[in-house]
Amino acid sequence: MRAFRYARATDPGAAAALVTSQPDAVYLGGGTNLVDLMKLGVLRPGLVVDVSRLPYDRIEHLPDGGVLIGGAARNRRVAHDEGIRRRYPALARALLSGASGQIRSQATVAGNLLQRTRCPYFQNTATPCNKRDPGSGCSAIPGAHRDLGVIGTSEHCVATHPSDLAVALAAYDAVVEVRRPDGAEVLVPIGDLHRLPGDTPWIETVLEPGDLVTGVQLPPPPDGAVATYRKVRDRWSFAFATVSVAAVLSTDQVRLALGGVAPKPWRLTATERMLAGTDPSDDDVRAATRAAFTDARPLPENAFKIELAADLVAAVLRDLRTAGAVR
């Protein structure tokens, strides 16, 4: 690991001033991804600015039924919050499905949104990777891409965003609060936070240097909605999603977001429009889900994810209709 200076921020302005003072400075939250990537040599910051103790750990339920969750709030605490469990069950389940008890206790909401892909080539400095080493090539496309993306990817990068939380936030139409270095607060819809790789896979979000994610805002869930998060993976627990879905269902609308298939949480807007207000059969749901993959770029080893997604969405919507929010 490269040697680095460390500063514990006491206010956000000072934190932003520090992190913009040199190009190789980074913010530190829970560290569960950043410290690992530093050990691997994937990230080599010269200055680490610890923002985990800034006062952004609130979980505030609003009179209108929405909720504000601070960027420094730890995943375990958010999943445990009674109002989140009652009103945003897909969010609680997404968090509970992620990583291990140890990691959930330390990981923060902001860090979760900004965590990096688990593409094995990104994490291995001995292999080419356009995201880690621009222009070096993508090892995954001709290599082990079974766990990687099928849509929103490019000829330069097929990495997926690994967050479960972000997928649930997408289904709840969350908005990300960002503090600019000059103190201005801007709001970024969760679907706009992450960028698709295109020709510049090393640029992963719309954030500018010094921007700090201070929280997420969730509007009230639709009246009478039921919701859940389901995750298909290679082992029972402590694994990233092969494909996951967050579903929010009410009498007049359905919202669906997928994980494990794209460089960002992937809302199925076309599918949602086809299914809203209908009483579809499983086959209808499968067809409507496949329709969202018209522009997909599946690779030989991961093309199965499209059919898996279709089955998963059908199963989850069937269960939500018949039994309420269940796993």
């Binding site: 460390y6 560290g31 730890r74 375990r76 999943a79 069950p89 509970l96 140890q102 330390q106």
Partner: protein, 172 residues
């Protein structure tokens, strides 16, 4: 803010403040083992995947291999050495012996700290991914124990004894 790449860090471990001079790169795990000579906490994968290094930080479970020691300053760290009450083992330690919850023992300190943090979560009403009802009082059956302890691997495969030991303490 310091221009230094290392410095004095005050770590509060098992109820005692300890001052150590550390490179900023030091993880809490390495600070515990190499500087404080608290070698009960074990280094397994060193990447947060095996749980051997689990300690309690402010009462919650943490992989000490993923925490920078300097970032743990001011937080209350409990290691396996801090579980017993002098010569009186923690009830979970006694249960691991009674149920043979280990073979080589390398994962045991992490299993113990993780289980203590997990049982506190359950006592506080925390559901798990497999809980059918997110708002009900948790019913800690064996599947729930396995799910909640999935961050701790045991390569000897002593899981049956580990689950039995945790079950005994959970049932009081």
């Amino acid at each position: 803010m310091t221009d230094q790449l290392r410095g004095d860090v005050v770590l509060r471990v098992n109820g005692e403040d300890r001052v150590v001079n550390l490179d900023n790169r030091s993880t809490l795990l390495d600070a515990l083992r190499e500087h404080l000579r608290l070698t009960g906490t074990k280094k397994g994968c060193d990447h947060g995947q095996c749980g051997a290094c689990t300690v309690l930080v402010d009462g919650e479970r943490a992989n000490s291999c993923l925490l920078l020691a300097v970032a743990a300053e001011g937080r209350e760290v409990t290691t396996v050495e801090g579980l017993a009450d002098e010569d009186e083992l923690h009830p979970l330690q006694r249960a691991f012996i009674a149920h043979d919850g280990f073979q080589c023992g390398y994962c045991t300190p992490g299993q113990l700290c993780s289980a203590i943090g997990m049982l506190a979560e359950v006592a506080d009403g925390m559901p798990s991914w497999i809980s059918a009802d997110l708002t009900a009082t948790p019913d800690l059956d064996d599947d729930e124990i396995r799910e909640r302890m999935s961050g701790n691997l045991c390569r000897c495969g002593a899981y049956a004894g580990i689950v039995a030991a945790i079950r005994e303490v959970a049932d009081g």
